[in-house]
Assembly symmetry: C2
Homo-oligomer: 845 residues x 2
C-alpha cells in the first residue's frame, strides 16, 4: 500500500548520522567528592528547613517561626494538601543540590508525586527563586507568613507542583507522565539532567509502566540524561503499592528488564540516624552520577572515533523511605509515619484538642526552626550555600520556563510547496504527502528544536519526505536492514506504539522551549484525552502567570480519520477528540479541517508559528481533489471560513435559497457533489456553498476569540434560510458551536453517528446519512419553496442510494461513477482526477 | 479524614478468608502426553487449513478451493485486512487445541493482535462453530465462498476479531487491553484458562505494560489462569518492536520482574521444518501447562491444609516467529515473510500483473487445499479430530458469550436502606456511604459474580461498609498489619492504581457474564475514554447480533467529582466524561445525577439490574441534605426528572414565571438556595423547581429512548418561559441535549467552565457563576416582568458574592451562613443539617 509505493525514496537517501550539526557540549562533571562533615551538616539543615516550610504550608496561617506558643488561631481552619511524599522529595532535592553544586550539573527536577507540592515550593523559597518572582513572598517573617497562608488557600496557590511553582514543567496531579515528560525535556538538551522522581503509586499506571522504555530512544551523546528515582514509600491512599510488595529480586529484574542499572537505597527506618542516611545516599547518588558521567564520556569518545555507541544501561535509583518521614510516629496511638495515614494531612484534627495541637507543635519544633532562620525570618546564610546558584538552581533552570529559551522556527515558505490548481478540482493530491514535502524543509532548517512524534504512522500518514533529511531515532538493537528503513541512533522523528508516550514526550519537549507535532489515528487520539486535558489546563493557568513565557503550541495531525477506515472498520472510527477539546478553555483550543492540500499547508504553517494553543488539525492522506489555489487557500484559511462562489448558484444581489455548508475533506467532496446535482437538477435554486476550515469560527464572538459576530454569521449563512451542513464528526458539535447563532433551528447537520462496520467509502457515508444524495434530499425537505414539486427528484436520490448500496454489497467497491466523480464538467485529465473515493483503505494499523 | 473516621469498623471485622463458599473445582488436567506422529500430522494439516482459509478470506471472492485456475476475477477488487500476525495466531490456536483435547482444559483464546481476525474466523469455521451460528456460511464449497467473500466486505464482517467472531470477547483493534480483559475474564472462573496472545506492538502501550502486574491480584485457587503468550514477530506497521530488540536477557529479566516464569520459543526461521517446530512448541506448551497444573494442585492442597498459598511465578511464553510466516518469502524482490511488509496485505497488487497473480496462486496452493477439504468442500474429517468438541471448543466456550452464563444478581431491597426524610432537607447523609451499606448486601448475596473495581478509592469514596463482608483481593507480598486493613488473598474489591487496568478487568468480567462496577475520580475517568469507546461499540454491535446474549451493564460511580476538589484543585476538575459518553449510541448510554442518598440507592438498584448499557452515575460522598423520602425517590428516579413543588412558589392552575432546573448534587443545593432567596425576596414570583436525575430525559424522544416528547418537555419546562438551569458539568451539554426542545433559546445554563485553582467550595461555585446568587441574578435578567424594578435585589446579590469571596480569601473557608445553609425555616436538628458545604476536601489522591 502506501508504504510500498514510496520505498524507492527510502532506500538510499537516509543519512547515516543525523545528529545536530553544532558540537555537543561536554558533560559537566566538576570535582565530585564524598560528603564532608560541613556539607553534611549544611545539607541536613537545608532538609530540616525544607520540611519545616512544608509542614508550615500545610498547617499554619500565622506564627510562622513559632516565636510565640502555637495557638489554634495559628492553624488553618481547613487543612488541605499532602504530607506523605513530601519529606522524600525534599531529601532528594537536597542531595541533588549537593551534586549540582559539586559537579556543575545543569539539572531540573521532575516531581512525579506532584501533590508533594509544598516540598518543591519550600525548595524554591530556600533557593531564593520564589521571592525573586513573587516579591510579596519575601525572605522575612512577613513573607513566610504569606508563604504558609497562600498554600491551598482561596486566592493562593494549588497544593500540587503547579505552573505557579518555579522549576516545574510537570503538575503531577494526574499520575503517570513523569518519565515521558522528563525524557521529552531531555531530547536535544545534551548537557542537561532531569532528576525524575516516580511515585510508587504512579508506577502502577499504564503510561508510566511503558515510559521506562524511553531509554531505547534517547541518544547518549545528543540528548540529555534522565535519572529515574523510584520513590518506594510503600502506600497509596489506602493500599500498599505493587512495586513495594514484590521483593527486591523481582523489582531489580524488572528495572534491568526495562534496560536500567538499578541502585537500591533503603533509609530512615527504625530511627536510623539522619547523618548515616545522608552519607549513604550521597555515596549512592555519586555512584549513579559517576556512571552517567562515564556513559557520557564514552559516548563522546565513540563519536570522536566516528563509531556508534550502543545503548547503555542507564542508572536508576530505588529509593525506599518511610511515607511521611520525620512526621509524627503515631497519632492517637495509630502508626502514622511509614503508613498510608501519612498520605494527606495526618493531623487533620490539629485544632480539635489540646493534645492534637501539642502534637503539631512538637512536630513543627522537631525541625528546630529557631536554628534555621535569622532574626528577620530569612533562611540562615549557610542554607543558601547548600544550594547551587543562579540558573544552576533547579527552580531557576531556564528550560523549565520554556518560553524563555524558545526560538521561532525557521520555516520554509509554504507557498513554494503549493500544488497547482488551474481550476477547482482540476488536480488531485494527497494532502499530507504535500505537507510532508514542506515538513522536510522544516526539519532541515531546524535540526535541534523541532521533532515529529507518533505511534507508528509517520510514513503511513505519507509524511515520509522528511526521511530524505532525517531518520527515526532508535537506540534499541539494530538489524542490518534497519538503516535502509529510516532508523538511526539520532533523528527528528520519534515513534513508539504508545500514544501516551508520544504525547508525554511532545509535552515535555514543548514545555522546555522547543517545537513539535504529533501524528496519530483520529480514533485513538482519545487515548490521551486525559493527558491533553492536563496540558490545556497548564496552558490556561500559565496564561495568567506573568513570569511564565509563552511556549509553542501542541500540534496534532490526525490523518487516519473516521471516514477512511476501510481496513479497520468500526473500532477505528471516532471523531470525538474534537468534541473533547472544545470543552477546554476557548483561549487554548483551535480546530482546523483543511479540505485540501493548499489549505493544509497554510494551516500547518500557521499552527507551527502559534503559541500557547492546542491545535487539532484533521486532514486526509488519500488522493483528494485540490479546490483552492495557494492564493485562495491563504485567504480562505485566514478568514477561517468562506463562501465558495464558484461552487454555488447564487445570483449576485439576491438572497440564496439554501446554504450548503461543509467542514472536513470528505464532507466537502459530498457537499460539492450535492451542489452539482442541484445545479443540474434544479437550476433555478440559489445555492450558496460555504466551507469551514477553522471550526471555532462557528462560535459566537462572546464564546471564542475566533467566533463571529451575529451579523457576520448571518452574512455568510443568511439569517433565516435553511443550512444543510455536512460535518466531519459528530453532528451535535455543529449545533453546539453555532448554538447562539441558530435562533430558528435552521441548521441541519449531517455527520458521523456511530454507524460503521465494514463498508466501502461511499457506503460508509450513506450509513451515516452524510452522502451527496442525502444532502440533496435534505435541501428538498428544508427549502419550503421546493415542496412536493420536487418529490420525484427526492425519490430518485433515494433510488440512487439503494443502487449504490446494492452495487457495493455485490462488488465490494463503490459504483464507478461515484468512485470517479469529479467536480465540474470534466477537465483535460480525467484519469488524474478520478481517484477520490476509489482508493484502498486508509490505515495499516 | 474520611479514612480515619471509619477505622473502627475496619479493624476487627475483616474475614480471614473471603473465598466463594462453593467448592473450587479441580483443575482439569487429563492425560497429557508428547505429540505423537498422528497428532503432529493432524495438527499441521489443521494449521495449513486455517492459514489457507485466512489467505482466502483476505484475497478471494470466488474459486475458494482453487478447483480451477486462479483468475483476476476471483480476487477481490479491494484487498483489506492484515496477514502478518495471522499464521502465528493459527499456530498457537492449533497447539492450544491439542492441549485442550488431551487435558480437557476449559479454555478461551484472547487475541491481542485483533486484526489477525481471519485466523480466528478460520479456526471457528474449522471447529464448526461458525456454521452453527451462521448457517449460511455452510461447510461446503458454497459456504466457503461466502466465508471468503464476506470478510472485510460491505455487508460482511469486519477484519478484526469483532463481536461477530464466535469465541471472542476482545476486538483487539485498539491495542493494549488483551491481558486486562483476560484476567478480568478469569476472576472467579477457577477452572478456566485464557490463552492470551499479546502482540509485541501492543506490548509497547501503557495499559499493556502495566497489565502484566495483574498476576499480583489473581488468586491461584479461586480464579482461573491466564497464560500470556508474547507474540514477538518483530514489526509494527513500519518499525521494529521494542521488545524484539532488547535481547533475550533483558526481555527475560523484564518478564521475571513482572512476576512471570518465561519460556522462550523461536521457530520457523531459515526454513525450519514445520514438523520440528511443532514438536518443539508442543513440548514447551506442555511444560507451561504442567507448571500451571502443579500450581493449581499446590494451591488446592494448601487450601485443604488451611494454609495460605504464596503468589507463584506463573508461566508465560515468548513466542518468536516470522511476521507473515508461510507467506511469500519475497515479492518483487523485497523480503516479505519476516518483515513489516507482511503486516497488512502483502500482495496488494495481486490483480495488477500476471506475475503477482501467480505469486498469489503459488502462495494459496502451498497449503495444498486439495488435501484439506472433501469433495463437497467441507474440512476433511481428521481436522475436526484435531480440535476439541462441544463447549471445549474455544470458539464455543459459553463464557465468551457472557449473556449465556449471566445470572441476575440477588439484590437486597434498597428500600430497606433508605434514610429517613421527614421533610426535604431535614436530615443529612453521605450518599455514597449509604450506598455502601446496600452494596455490602449485594456483595454478601453474590459472592461469586459481583466485583467492585477501582484505582484506590473504594474506602475514600465511603463504600467501606463492604469491608464488613469482604476484602480487597491482593496477592503481592503481605505485611502483618495488612490483614487489619482489608487486604486478603481473595475478596470482592480489586484495586490497582491504573484506571486502564480496572476498566479492562471490569470489561473482561462483564463480557464473561458477571456483574460489577467501577468507582473513580470524575476527572481521571477520562483516562479510559478510549477504552469505554470500544466497549460501547462492542455493545452496539452485539445488540445487532442475534446469538450474542445481553450482558450486564458497565456501571461507573464517579464520586470524587468536579465540585469537591479542595485538596487537589484545577487539575482534578473535569466533568467531561459525560459529554464523551453522550457521543456514543443513544441505545447504549445512560447518565444519572442523583441529588441525594435515596435517589442514589434507587439509581444504583436500577443500574445493577440493567443490561447492555454503560451507566454513568455521578454522586457525592460529602454530607448532603436528603431531599426525598424513599417513596418520593423511587417515583422521581422512575420519572427521571420532575417538578419539586415543595421547593417552588407556583400557583396551581397558573403558568410559572420561571423554571429553576438543576442536575447534580451541588447544583441542586444552589438551586434550592436560590429558590429560597426568591421566595423571600420576590414572593409574588411564580417559580417552578425541576430536578433532573436521568440526563437523557432532556433529549428529544427521537434522539434517545429516554427522551421526552415536545409536549412532555413543555409540560415540565413550560413552553415559552425562561429556564435557569444549574448543571453539574460543562454547560453546553444541556444546550446540546435539550436542543430540539429549546426553540427560543430560553434555557440559560450555568455549570463548570474550567475555572478552578484553589478555592473553597462556594468560591469554586462563584468562579463558575453557578452559585445561588448568580442564579437569582439570572432569574432577574431573564424574566421580563421583573425588569429594572428588581435591580436593587440584583445588586444585593452581587454584593453578597463580593462579600463571600472576600471572606473566603481572608479566612480560607466559606461564610458561616453559606457553609451552614439549610433549606426551609429550620428543622429540629440544625446541627445535623449544617454540614453541606462546610466539610473538608473531597479527595485524598
Amino acid at each position: 500500500m502506501s508504504d510500498a509505493s514510496t520505498e524507492s525514496t527510502i532506500q538510499s537517501t537516509v543519512p547515516e548520522s543525523t545528529a545536530p550539526t553544532p558540537a555537543v557540549p561536554a558533560w559537566p562533571d566538576g570535582a565530585a567528592h564524598p560528603l564532608t562533615d560541613t556539607e553534611l551538616e549544611r545539607l541536613h539543615r537545608w532538609w530540616r528547613a525544607a520540611n519545616y516550610l512544608s509542614v508550615g504550608q500545610i498547617y499554619l496561617k500565622d506564627n510562622p517561626l513559632l516565636r510565640r506558643p502555637l495557638t489554634r488561631e495559628d492553624v488553618k481552619p481547613r487543612l488541605l494538601g499532602h504530607w506523605g511524599t513530601t519529606p522524600g522529595l525534599t531529601f532528594l532535592y537536597a542531595h541533588a543540590n549537593r551534586a549540582i553544586a559539586q559537579r556543575g550539573l545543569n539539572a531540573m527536577f521532575v516531581t512525579g508525586p506532584g501533590h508533594g507540592g509544598p516540598g518543591l515550593v519550600a525548595a524554591s523559597y530556600l533557593e531564593g527563586t520564589y521571592s525573586d518572582i513573587y516579591p510579596n513572598v519575601s525572605r522575612d517573617e512577613r513573607g513566610l507568613k504569606r508563604l504558609f497562608t497562600q498554600f491551598s488557600f482561596p486566592g493562593g496557590i494549588p497544593s500540587h507542583v503547579a505552573p505557579e511553582t518555579p522549576g516545574s514543567i510537570h503538575e503531577g496531579g494526574e499520575l503517570g507522565y513523569a518519565l515521558s515528560h522528563a525524557y521529552g525535556a531531555m531530547f536535544d538538551n545534551p548537557d542537561q539532567i532531569a532528576f525524575t522522581v516516580v511515585g510508587d503509586g504512579e508506577a502502577e499506571t499504564g503510561p508510566l509502566a511503558t515510559s521506562w522504555h524511553s531509554n531505547k530512544f534517547i541518544n547518549a551523546r545528543t540528548d540529555g540524561v534522565v535519572l529515574p528515582i523510584l520513590h518506594l514509600n510503600g502506600y497509596k491512599i489506602a493500599n500498599p503499592t505493587v512495586l513495594a510488595r514484590i521483593g527486591d529480586d523481582e523489582l531489580g529484574a524488572l528495572m534491568r528488564g526495562y534496560g536500567h542499572d538499578p541502585l537500591f537505597f533503603t533509609g530512615g527506618f527504625d530511627g536510623e540516624d539522619p547523618a548515616a542516611v545522608h552519607r549513604r545516599f550521597a555515596e549512592l547518588l555519586d555512584t549513579a552520577l559517576d556512571r552517567i558521567a562515564a556513559i557520557k564520556r564514552d559516548a563522546a569518545a565513540a563519536a570522536e572515533r566516528g563509531e556508534e555507541f550502543e545503548r547503555p544501561a542507564w542508572p536508576m535509583i530505588v529509593f525506599r523511605t518511610p511515607k511521611g518521614w520525620t512526621g509524627p510516629a503515631s497519632i492517637d496511638g495509630k502508626q502514622t509515619e511509614g503508613s498510608w495515614r501519612s498520605h494527606q494531612v495526618p493531623l487533620a484534627n490539629a485544632r480539635d484538642t489540646d493534645e492534637h495541637l501539642a502534637d503539631l507543635d512538637r512536630w513543627l519544633r522537631s525541625y528546630r526552626p529557631e536554628e534555621l532562620f535569622d532574626e528577620a525570618g530569612a533562611p540562615a546564610p549557610d542554607l543558601a550555600e547548600a544550594a547551587p546558584e543562579g540558573t544552576l538552581r533547579m527552580s531557576a533552570n531556564p528550560i523549565t520556563n520554556g518560553g524563555v529559551v524558545l526560538r521561532s522556527l525557521r520555516l520554509p515558505d509554504f507557498r513554494d510547496f503549493a500544488v497547482d490548481v488551474p481550476e477547482p478540482g482540476a488536480t488531485i493530491s494527497e494532502p499530507t504527502r504535500v505537507l510532508g514535502e514542506w515538513l522536510r524543509g522544516v526539519v532541515e532548517n531546524n535540526p535541534e528544536n523541532f521533532r515529529i512524534f507518533g505511534p507508528d504512522e509517520t510514513a503511513s500518514n505519507r509524511l515520509q519526505a522528511v526521511y530524505d533529511v532525517t531518520a527515526k531515532q532508535w537506540n534499541a538493537d539494530f538489524e542490518e536492514h534497519d538503516r535502509s528503513e529510516n532508523l538511526a541512533r539520532a533523528g527528528r522523528v520519534v515513534e513508539m506504539l504508545s500514544e501516551h508516550q508520544c504525547e508525554g514526550w511532545l509535552e515535555g519537549y514543548l514545555l522546555t522551549g522547543r517545537h513539535g507535532m504529533m501524528n496519530s489515528y483520529e480514533a485513538f487520539i482519545h487515548i490521551i484525552d486525559s493527558m491533553v486535558n492536563q496540558h490545556a489546563k497548564w496552558l490556561k493557568v500559565t496564561n495568567e502567570i506573568e513570569w511564565r513565557r509563552p511556549i509553542a503550541s501542541l500540534n496534532y495531525l490526525l490523518s487516519s480519520h473516521v471516514w477512511r477506515q476501510d481496513h479497520n472498520g468500526f473500532s477505528h472510527q471516532d471523531p470525538g477528540f474534537i468534541d473533547h477539546m472544545v470543552n477546554k478553555k476557548a483561549e487554548i483550543v483551535r480546530v482546523y479541517l483543511p479540505p485540501d492540500a493548499n489549505t493544509l499547508l497554510s494551516t500547518y504553517d500557521h499552527v507551527l508559528r502559534s503559541r500557547q494553543y492546542v491545535n487539532v488539525v484533521v486532514a486526509g492522506k488519500q488522493p483528494n481533489p485540490n479546490w483552492l489555489s495557494m492564493e485562495e487557500a491563504v485567504t480562505h484559511c485566514t478568514r477561517g471560513l468562506g463562501i465558495w462562489d464558484w461552487a454555488g448558484t447564487e445570483v449576485e444581489g439576491e438572497d440564496p435559497d439554501v446554504v450548503l455548508a461543509c467542514a472536513g475533506d470528505i464532507p466537502t467532496i459530498e457537499t460539492l457533489a450535492a451542489a452539482q446535482i442541484l445545479r443540474e437538477e434544479i437550476p433555478s435554486l440559489k445555492v450558496r456553498v460555504v466551507n469551514v476550515v477553522d471550526l471555532m469560527r462557528l462560535q459566537d464572538e462572546t464564546e471564542h476569540p475566533h467566533g463571529l459576530s451575529e451579523r457576520a454569521f448571518d452574512g455568510i449563512f443568511g439569517s433565516d434560510i435553511p443550512v444543510v451542513f455536512a460535518y466531519h464528526g459528530y453532528p451535535w458539535l455543529i449545533h453546539r458551536l453555532a448554538y447562539r447563532h441558530d435562533r430558528h433551528s435552521r441548521i441541519h447537520v449531517r455527520g458521523y453517528k456511530e454507524e460503521g462496520t465494514t463498508t466501502t467509502p461511499f457506503d460508509m457515508l450513506m450509513r451515516n446519512d452524510t452522502d451527496r444524495f442525502h444532502l440533496v434530499m435534505d435541501v428538498i425537505d428544508q427549502v419550503d419553496s421546493l415542496g412536493s414539486r420536487w418529490a420525484p427528484l427526492r425519490q430518485r436520490m433515494e433510488d440512487e442510494r439503494i443502487r449504490a448500496r446494492a452495487y457495493a454489497y455485490e462488488h465490494g467497491e463503490d459504483l464507478p461513477e461515484i468512485a470517479s466523480w469529479q467536480w465540474g464538467d470534466g477537465g483535460d485529465e480525467p484519469d488524474q482526477r478520478s481517484a477520490t473515493l476509489a482508493t484502498g483503505g486508509d490505515n495499516e494499523g
